[in-house]
Every structure is written in structure tokens, then in C-alpha cells.
């Protein structure tokens, strides 16, 4: 197709631009737009008809003067250049440098849209990652290739937790560390700076690629940012054989940008104004992680999702939970009690834990001691509720034991230092110390042999 600049834009609204009298334009292609002031904008064709196309403009459509807007169809998909040089660099959602350094030059260019992994090419993830956080390692273990989001709320320390995991994550008997792909959508300058400093002081910056879109950057760019970041992650994992940890923050900002564009397009809303395809759209992002047959690298993902009004049933955390392999849920109540990291274990879950722990991976008793903690803690929560109604003094001796267990558990097992990197051994031993507050006959989730080996109580 000959390169031609169209000056036939007829409509602009909410990040969308309609251009008429076009020649046959490929769906999904990249678009270059020059506005009246001579500035460039980037776009993508999201509907292509005989002589009219609809373009999503990543920098937004604010301030466009249709008469003086030139649109050029680049006849290529939206893609980024990749080379080992991307490590240590900082880009925007389109893969353009944000660090003042020159663009990456490489013959390797990949479309950011990705394509679906053939399920028959996947390998089931089963290698335990030690994060050094007891509530994760002990009770909701993360494995290599898993997508495990942090569900949080405004003001809760999800960024600190994500950074701590990024710093501490390792395989128990292997010293390959992770490369980190950090993707920030709509975050504040302060949050971005926090991560940058965090990576710099822990000396891992050389192993990190950052993709950043700040709160005051164009929202539409947030739609492509996680895709760009994952394309980089796939390159690191499958071309360079690295184990990659992708941190996406904050998926709520992503979904809001999606809603904005969907509304402008007039898409039929499902819940709370979010389009019906939010699930599939999020899945396109989350499912890019995993393990693949005969590939040495892997992609593990920790998206941060802040729950609007702490509501876990809000469409964004809800649909995320339906796609990811579990979730780590932070609690405002624990946070207010000064407990860090304030992980609420009851709604937290890791679905891939089962094959990554136990005899050959962590320790034989691990699955059962985790089940036992959960059973006791669930009962303790009921007791706490009861105590709040009738008063702790009215409780039976047995119930009071549950209360002291829950308190000790929150304080000692959940709570730990921001620099405290607990080994899985230490975590499990601590678990036994706590469940040993109960007599043996109440510990029905563990085996007799576990009790013989690890029980620390007096009876």
C-alpha cells in the first residue's frame, strides 16, 4: 500500500477517531497521527470497513483539530523492538523510552498483541518459589509460572509487599534470580519512584525493565501497556531463557481505561458499566504467563488489583479472581492493627500450591499443616465474632484457646518485617509452634506421624 496521509478524519471523541474515504486498511494495524501542532500520536485500527476506519488513539483525542489532522496507516501491527538492552531501561506503554536514552534498536520486533498459547504446549507449573513471606510460602504458595494477584485497597501496602516479593523471590535450591518486568498503569509519581528506588537500592535494577504510565499520562495508553510489557517478558523468558516476574500495577486503572473507551464506542455494558468482554480482555493479559514445554524461561505474574471500596465482588477483582490462579487478599483491619503484611488468609488462595509443596519440594508435612492452620483459623474467626457479641469472658475455655491462637497467629505468623526473609523451614516451624497451642486430639488435619515429629505441645 502506498503511504498516504489522510486528512479525512470526521469524528473524534473519547480516544476514538473516525477517518473516512480510506483504502483497504488492515484491522489491528498501527496508525500514525500528526495533529495541528505537528505533534505525533499513535493509534490502532479497531474497526475497518470499506471506506471508513475507527482508530483508538493511545495519546487520546483531546485537542484534535479534525481539519488539521493527518492520519497515516503504517501497514504493520503495533509492535516493539526487543534486545537484551531493554534490561535496566524504562519505557512508556508503546515501548518508547522514558529514561531520556535512545530507543532500542533491534531487528527483533514483536507485535504486542501476542497470540494464545496452545494449551497442549504448556507444562503444569510446579516449582515452589520462596518469597520469604510466611502467609504466602506457608499457606498460599507461589510456583514458577503462576499468576497470583494481590487484592488490595487504597492506602494498603500492596506496593511494599510486591516490592518485597520482587526482592526476595527465589527458588529454594537454585540461585537463578528473577528478572523483573514492572508495568505501572496510572500510578502516582510517588509510587513509580518508590519502585525505582526499591530496585536501585537492592541492586537489581540491571535486571528490571520498567513500563510506566503515570496517573497524568494518557489513559488510553494503559490499554496497550501491559501487552507491551508482556511482550518484553516473553522475549526475556523464551528468547533469553530467563525466569521473569511480571508485576502489573494497578489493574484497576487498566480496567477503568478500558471502560472509558468502551463507553465511547457505545459497547453494551455488563456490570457497573464495564463491557461484557472485560473478562476475555483481562484473560488475554493474565493467560500470557505460565510454563511452556522445553522452554527454560518462565513467566510468573503478580498483578496488583485495588478493590474499589474494598469490595471483592467488584467486577475488576471478581473477574481477575476468575482468571488468576488464586489471590492474596490484604485486610484493612489487620493493617489498622499495625500488622505487616496485612494478608487476610481466609479469602486468600493459591490454586497451584498443591503440586509445588510437600515431600520433594518443601517439607512432607507442609500441605497438612497448612490445612490445619486454615481449619483452626476459620474456627477462631467464628469465635472472634462470637466474642464480639457476647464478650470474651462468656466463652468456654476451649473457645478462649482459639482466641489466643488467632491473636498469636496474626501477630507472629502474619506479621513480619519488611526486610524479613523467612525460609520455608522457619515458616513451617512457626506454624507448628502455633498449632501446638492445641491438644493433639484437636489437630485432626495432620497425621499421627506429623504429630510425632513436629508437635511441640505438652500433652
Amino acid at each position: 500500500m502506498s503511504i498516504k496521509d489522510y486528512r479525512t478524519a470526521i469524528e473524534a471523541r473519547g480516544g476514538l477517531l473516525i477517518v473516512k474515504d480510506t483504502a483497504s486498511v488492515a484491522f489491528g494495524d498501527r496508525v500514525h497521527i500528526r495533529d495541528h501542532a505537528g505533534h505525533s500520536r499513535n493509534g490502532q485500527v479497531i474497526r475497518s470497513a470499506d471506506n471508513e476506519v475507527l482508530i483508538l488513539v493511545f495519546e487520546g483525542t483531546d485537542d484534535l483539530d479534525l481539519e488539521n489532522t493527518w492520519v497515516r496507516f503504517l501497514d504493520e501491527p503495533v509492535e516493539i523492538a526487543l534486545s537484551p538492552e531493554i534490561l535496566g531501561r524504562e519505557f512508556n506503554g508503546l515501548g518508547e523510552p522514558r529514561d531520556g536514552r535512545p530507543p532500542v534498536l533491534s531487528s527483533i520486533r514483536r507485535p504486542v498483541g501476542g497470540s494464545a498459547i496452545n494449551p497442549a504446549a504448556r507444562t503444569y507449573p510446579r516449582e515452589f518459589i520462596q518469597t520469604g513471606i510466611s502467609t504466602i510460602d506457608g499457606l498460599n504458595s507461589l510456583v514458577r509460572g503462576q499468576k497470583l494477584p494481590i487484592f488490595s485497597g487504597s492506602g494498603l501496602p500492596h506496593n511494599r509487599l510486591a516490592a518485597q516479593i520482587g526482592r526476595q523471590a527465589k527458588l529454594v535450591d537454585e540461585d537463578t534470580s528473577f528478572s523483573v518486568v514492572f508495568a505501572a498503569m496510572g500510578v502516582s509519581y510517588a509510587d513509580a519512584k518508590f519502585f525505582r528506588d526499591e530496585f536501585a537500592t537492592s541492586g537489581v535494577l540491571r535486571n528490571v525493565v520498567m513500563f510506566i504510565n503515570l496517573a497524568d499520562d494518557p489513559p488510553v495508553e494503559r490499554l496497550t501497556l501491559p501487552r507491551t510489557a508482556l511482550t518484553a517478558a516473553e522475549y526475556l523468558a523464551y528468547d533469553l531463557d530467563r525466569h521473569v516476574l511480571v508485576i502489573l500495577t494497578d489493574m484497576t486503572n487498566y480496567a477503568e481505561a478500558l471502560r472509558e473507551v468502551a463507553t465511547a464506542k457505545g459497547d453494551v455494558p455488563a456490570r457497573k458499566g464495564y463491557p461484557g468482554y472485560l473478562y476475555s480482555d483481562l484473560a488475554e493479559i493474565y493467560e500470557r504467563c505460565g510454563r511452556i514445554h522445553e522452554r527454560h524461561g518462565s513467566i510468573t505474574m503478580m498483578p496488583v488489583v485495588s478493590m474499589p471500596s474494598d469490595d471483592i465482588t467488584h467486577p475488576i477483582p471478581d473477574l481477575t479472581g476468575y482468571i488468576t490462579e488464586g489471590q492474596i487478599v490484604l485486610s484493612r483491619e489487620l493493617h489498622n492493627q499495625g500488622i505487616y503484611p496485612p494478608v487476610h488468609i481466609s479469602p486468600s488462595l493459591s490454586r497451584l500450591m498443591k503440586d509445588g509443596i510437600g515431600k520433594d519440594d518443601t517439607r512432607e508435612d507442609h500441605p497438612r499443616v497448612a490445612a490445619q492452620i486454615y481449619a483452626l483459623y476459620a474456627r477462631a474467626q467464628e469465635t472472634r465474632n462470637l466474642a464480639s457479641i457476647i464478650g470474651a469472658d462468656e466463652l468456654s475455655e476451649r473457645d478462649r484457646r482459639y482466641l489466643s491462637f488467632a491473636d498469636a497467629f496474626d501477630e507472629r505468623f502474619v506479621g513480619q518485617g519488611e526486610a524479613e526473609d523467612r525460609s520455608i523451614e522457619a515458616t513451617l516451624n512457626l506454624a507448628w509452634e502455633l498449632i501446638s497451642m492445641f491438644p493433639r486430639d484437636m489437630l485432626t488435619r495432620v497425621k499421627e506421624t506429623d504429630l510425632a515429629k513436629f508437635y511441640q505441645g505438652s500433652d
Binding site: G113, S115, A121, G290, D318
Partner: protein
């Protein structure tokens, strides 16, 4: 519709919805889109234009590229070679695609579901002789498809006449002629070992029958409390993480079906890999053979194109009906029907159809009902009775069961295994809530249990449910006024309910021993829990304090029993029953002595 191909031109590409100018094309016809040759299906017609939904991403397609009408509707291939495989939502074999296109699925790739080159040992049906009148469903012969599955090669629907010949025993590929038949018009037809069938059309059968025997799943809360029948339809609704997939996978593993079809519809890739990697290692408790030999997977994961997701359910159920027609009991699991419904919603939204509830089109309820209607026990044409049991997971947004997909499904199905977030959060698995779940098959199942297992089954089941109901009532009292307000007898009721919950209802899929529980063991555990409760209640009446009973070692053992002894160690459970009776008796005696002495 099998005339010449029609060629037209693309006018508009709106994501998976492509408008083409293709006069003469029919509704439902398969269309190849653009230079890439992406597959799609006509969903509506408007003058010279047709709207096509494509099963693959349309990125890079341009207006003006060609569109070719293929002349037939979306169909599947049915014949030996399906078992043990994994197919995408339009029945492309994913393992072969991986060999050709690597780790990612290349668009426009066309690989037939059944391998053409492979030869199968065909054994003709000795009862047939040339001149026999044959018709749809007549078994022409058999092929040992896998060590567990004997594949009956049947005359396809629509073919009828006099048998001219059947091939002798030997190795044939699926395209070879294995029989010839002359129809009443005198035309002769060649039959091979495979047939094609349009997925949106139910396969015919002689007549419908009622279900009579329960599908045994080895899961206590299902078999004992909310039983399903072979040929039944059921739903597993629940919020994320509550255990829908685990329930479905447990049924796929341990149910006494002949064939299992697992449709991963808009869910996680890793869950299918889990099945693919673990089933070849696991033994079927009935046949002793590997589970994968009787299992077939259909995979349209959440990141795969949405339109193929809608098709995947039909592709799965058509294959299920095909094995049913051989006289087999087939179980099809669809995880998740909500994703299927969302695919409908997405397409209808793009077509600008008027949404009725939460964006769903008005035809949601009727489509759902029509899919579930394809389940059932039937009298087949040529192989006796067969059944398709259909169990769909439902993923309600926010766990809200009043949303459209859950509520419409609830009206259609016969068993409803409602998963609860509270139970799942407390790690009570399976988190099937005994209050909101139901089965319309308890009465029919009871006949089987009474005959095969124990005449007291229904009594014990009712006693257990009564205890659970009391538990809810008493817990409310406790929450108002504290546990001190309860009498010893009431506390013992709570203890009894807790035995039922922990010793019977809870069943970890990850526990090597307890993951499967035979009906005999199910009854033995239930019986024990109720016996302990009853004996204890009698003792309390005599004045034995509840605390004495609570601390009996048998209470802890009852809770562990399920994972101490496997289904083939019933004698141990019987022995424990004896122990329980003895202990209770000695408490009684001691108390009587004690009481006399005072």
C-alpha cells in the same frame, strides 16, 4: 448445502464480527475469511450481506479480501481417534497443531480432527450378512480405540438400505470403505469408519428414557447427599475459587462413566494441562486402566478467541452424543457455561441486538435450555441404551446467584451443587452448601442404594441432614446468647453435626486415600457418624456429661477415618464400628456403676 463454493468479498471487520458480501450464502454456513483463510460461521443475513463470526483473531484482515462460503455448517468428525485427545473449540487437534505451529496457535491452520494415515484394526459385526436391512445406528463392526473403549462403527443417521458388503477383519484407515449399502432408490453408498455431524443439531435416537441409576462420583456430598443420575443434567455454581473446577475434575476422574468429555470453556490453560498430565498416570477405579483412555478434552481457554468458545460446548456435546449412540454412559463437563453465555453476549452486543438483562440477549434462556436438553438417557438406534450426563459450572459475577445465567440454569437442571464462599474460605471442601443445593433424584437414587448398598441409606441421609439443620438453628442461639445457654443434649447435637461435616461431608481432592470414596465406604462413614451421635445422645439422656464424650479418642478418629482407610479397607471401618459400640457401652456401664455408687 453441498454445492459449489461461493466467493465474495469482505466489507467490514469489527473484531471477530466480519461483514461480507456473499450472495446466496446460508445462515450457519462455514465461511473462510480473507487471505489467511480464517474460519467463521454466518450468523445473520441482510440482503446481499452476511454477518460472519470468526473463530480466530481477525488482526491484519482488510476490507476487500475474499470470503469463501464452504457450503456446510460447523461440523465435527466422529470416528476412532478421538479418545485421549485434546481439541480446540472447533475440534482442531491441539497436539498436532503444536507440532506444526509451535507453542502458539497459528491462525488459519487447518488440521482435521481425525488422523487420516492411522490404521485401526476393524472387526466386522459377525451378525450382519449381505442383504440385511440396515439403518442409522446399525453397528457395522468395532475398533478397539483405546484399551478401555471399544468403538462401535455405526451407520450414520440418514443412511438406510440393504447391506451389500462389510469389509473383512483387518487394518483400515478411517477413509477406507468398510461397508457398502444400497438405499431404497437403488443408489449405493460407501461407508467408512467416520462420519461428520453438524454440531448445532442434536443427533437422533429411538426414544428417550428416564434415568435409573445414579452416577457414582466417589464424592460423598454428591453421591450421598445430592445424587446425580446417569443421563441427568446438573450445575455447579459458585464464586471464584470455591471449587467448581475441582468438583468437575473429580467427577471426570472418579465417576463410573464409560466416557468422559471435559470441555474447558473460557477457563485456564493450566487446568487442562493438569488433566492432560495427570490422567495418563491415574487408574480408573472401575476398569483399572488409565483414565486418559476414556477421556477427551475440548479446550477453548479464556485467552482463545471468544467465538470458538461459543462453539466449543456444541462440539463437546456432539461428540458426547456420538459415544452415547454406541450405548455408552457419557459424562460431559462444561467449565464454565458462564463463559459460553458471555460469548453469546459478546456476539449479540457486536451485532447491536437489544440486551435484556446485564447485557445478555433475550435468547439466553432458550439457548441454555436447548444445550442442556441434549443430555439424557436414550434408547439408541443400534446399541441399546446410552446416556449423556451434562454438568456445567456456572461462574456468577460477584458470586451472586440471582444473575441471569445462574438463575436460568437453575430452572433447567435437576441437580444443583451450590458452592459457598463461606465454606471455601473456611477450607470446608467440597464447599457444596447443604442448605441451598438440591437434587431431584434422591428418590430414584435411593432405590439403587437400598438395593446395592444398604436398606438404611435414606434414613441415615435424612438423619444427617436433620442434624445439620439443628446445627444451623442452635448456632443462631449461640450467636445470640452464648454457648452457656445450651443444654448438654444440644451441645451434643452440635458435636454430631460437626462429625457429619468433618467426618463425612468434607473430602479433600488432594488426599491420596480420600479423593475417591466407594459407595460402601460412603455409607459406612455416614452410618458411623450417625451411630456415634445416637449412642452419645442416649448416654447424655442417662446423665453422662457432654464433655466426657467430646474427649473420647474415637471422636478424633472419626474425623480422620476417611483418610486412614481406603475404599478397599472396609473391614477396618467395620472394626472401628465395633470399637465405637464397645466404648459407648463401657461408658454406659461405668456411668451406671458410678451412678449406683452415689
Amino acid at each position: 448445502m453441498s454445492e459449489a463454493k461461493r466467493i465474495g468479498v469482505i466489507r467490514d471487520i469489527n473484531g471477530p464480527i466480519v461483514t461480507v458480501e456473499l450472495p446466496g450464502v446460508r445462515s450457519g454456513e462455514q465461511v473462510k475469511i480473507g487471505e489467511l483463510g480464517l474460519f467463521g460461521e454466518v450468523i445473520s443475513l441482510r440482503g446481499r450481506e452476511a454477518v460472519v463470526q470468526t473463530y480466530e483473531s481477525t488482526e491484519g484482515v482488510r476490507p476487500g479480501e475474499p470470503a469463501v462460503g464452504l457450503g456446510w455448517p460447523l461440523s465435527v468428525e466422529l470416528g476412532p481417534g478421538l479418545m485421549g485427545g485434546i481439541f480446540d473449540g472447533v475440534q482442531r487437534p491441539l497436539e498436532k497443531i503444536a507440532l506444526q505451529s509451535g507453542d502458539y496457535i497459528r491462525r488459519g491452520i487447518a488440521v482435521p480432527a481425525l488422523e487420516r494415515a492411522r490404521e485401526w484394526e476393524f472387526e466386522p459385526n459377525r451378525e450382519l450378512t449381505p442383504g440385511n436391512r440396515i439403518g442409522p445406528g446399525t453397528v457395522l463392526g468395532t475398533v478397539q480405540e483405546t484399551p478401555t473403549v471399544l468403538h462401535r462403527i455405526m451407520v450414520p443417521p440418514g443412511v438406510e438400505g440393504d447391506l451389500l458388503e462389510v469389509a473383512p477383519a483387518g487394518a483400515y484407515d478411517i477413509e477406507s470403505t468398510i461397508a457398502r449399502v444400497r438405499d431404497p432408490r437403488g443408489l449405493s453408498h460407501r461407508l467408512s469408519m467416520y462420519q461428520r455431524w453438524p454440531v448445532r443439531k442434536p443427533r437422533p435416537y429411538l426414544r428417550r428414557d428416564d434415568g435409573i441409576s445414579p452416577l457414582i462420583t466417589g464424592q460423598r456430598v454428591i453421591d450421598t447427599f445430592f445424587p446425580q443420575l446417569k443421563g441427568g443434567k446438573g450445575a455447579v455454581p459458585g464464586p471464584f475459587g470455591a471449587g467448581k473446577t475441582v468438583v468437575q475434575q473429580q467427577i471426570a476422574r472418579w465417576s463410573n462413566a464409560d466416557i468422559v468429555i471435559y470441555v474447558g470453556c473460557g477457563e485456564r490453560g493450566n487446568e487442562l494441562v493438569d488433566v492432560l498430565e495427570s490422567f495418563p498416570e491415574l487408574d480408573d477405579p472401575y476398569s483399572g486402566r488409565k483414565l486418559m483412555e476414556r477421556t477427551l478434552l475440548v479446550a477453548n481457554t479464556s485467552n482463545m478467541p471468544v467465538v470458538a468458545r461459543e462453539a466449543s460446548v456444541y462440539v463437546g456435546i456432539t461428540m458426547a452424543e456420538y459415544y452415547r449412540d454406541m450405548g455408552y454412559d457419557v459424562v460431559m463437563l462444561a467449565d464454565s457455561t458462564s463463559r459460553w453465555a458471555e460469548a453469546l453476549r459478546e456476539v449479540s452486543g457486536r451485532l447491536g441486538q437489544m440486551p435484556v438483562e446485564e447485557g445478555y440477549p433475550a435468547y439466553l434462556a432458550s439457548r441454555l435450555a436447548a444445550v442442556y436438553e441434549r443430555a439424557g438417557r436414550v434408547e439408541t438406534y443400534g446399541a441399546g441404551s446410552g446416556s449423556v450426563t451434562l454438568i456445567g459450572a456456572v461462574s456468577p459475577p460477584g458470586g451472586d446467584f440471582s444473575e441471569p445465567v445462574t438463575s436460568h440454569t437453575k430452572d433447567i437442571i435437576e441437580t444443583f451443587w451450590a458452592l459457598s464462599k463461606e465454606l471455601a474460605d473456611a477450607r470446608h471442601y467440597p464447599s457444596i452448601d447443604w442448605v441451598t443445593s438440591f437434587s431431584k433424584h434422591v428418590h430414584t437414587a435411593a432405590q439403587w442404594w437400598h438395593q446395592e448398598i444398604d436398606p438404611d441409606w435414606e434414613k441415615r441421609r435424612t438423619a444427617a441432614l436433620a442434624l445439620l439443620a439443628r446445627d444451623a438453628e442452635l448456632s443462631r442461639i449461640v450467636n445470640l446468647v452464648g454457648p452457656e445457654a445450651l443444654s448438654d443434649a444440644q451441645r451434643w447435637e452440635l458435636e454430631g453435626a460437626s462429625l457429619v461435616k468433618e467426618g463425612v461431608l468434607q473430602q479433600s481432592a488432594l488426599d491420596e486415600i480420600d479423593t475417591f470414596c466407594s459407595p460402601h465406604k460412603q455409607f459406612a462413614l455416614l452410618d458411623l457418624a450417625i451411630t456415634i451421635y445416637k449412642r452419645g445422645a442416649a448416654l447424655i439422656k442417662l446423665g453422662v456429661p457432654v464433655s466426657e464424650l467430646q474427649h473420647l479418642p474415637l471422636m478424633a478418629k472419626m474425623r480422620r477415618l476417611k483418610s486412614l482407610y481406603a475404599s478397599d479397607q472396609l473391614d477396618q471401618i467395620v472394626a472401628f464400628h465395633g470399637e465405637v459400640e464397645q466404648t459407648m457401652e463401657s461408658v454406659r456401664l461405668e456411668y451406671a456403676k458410678h451412678g449406683e455408687a452415689v
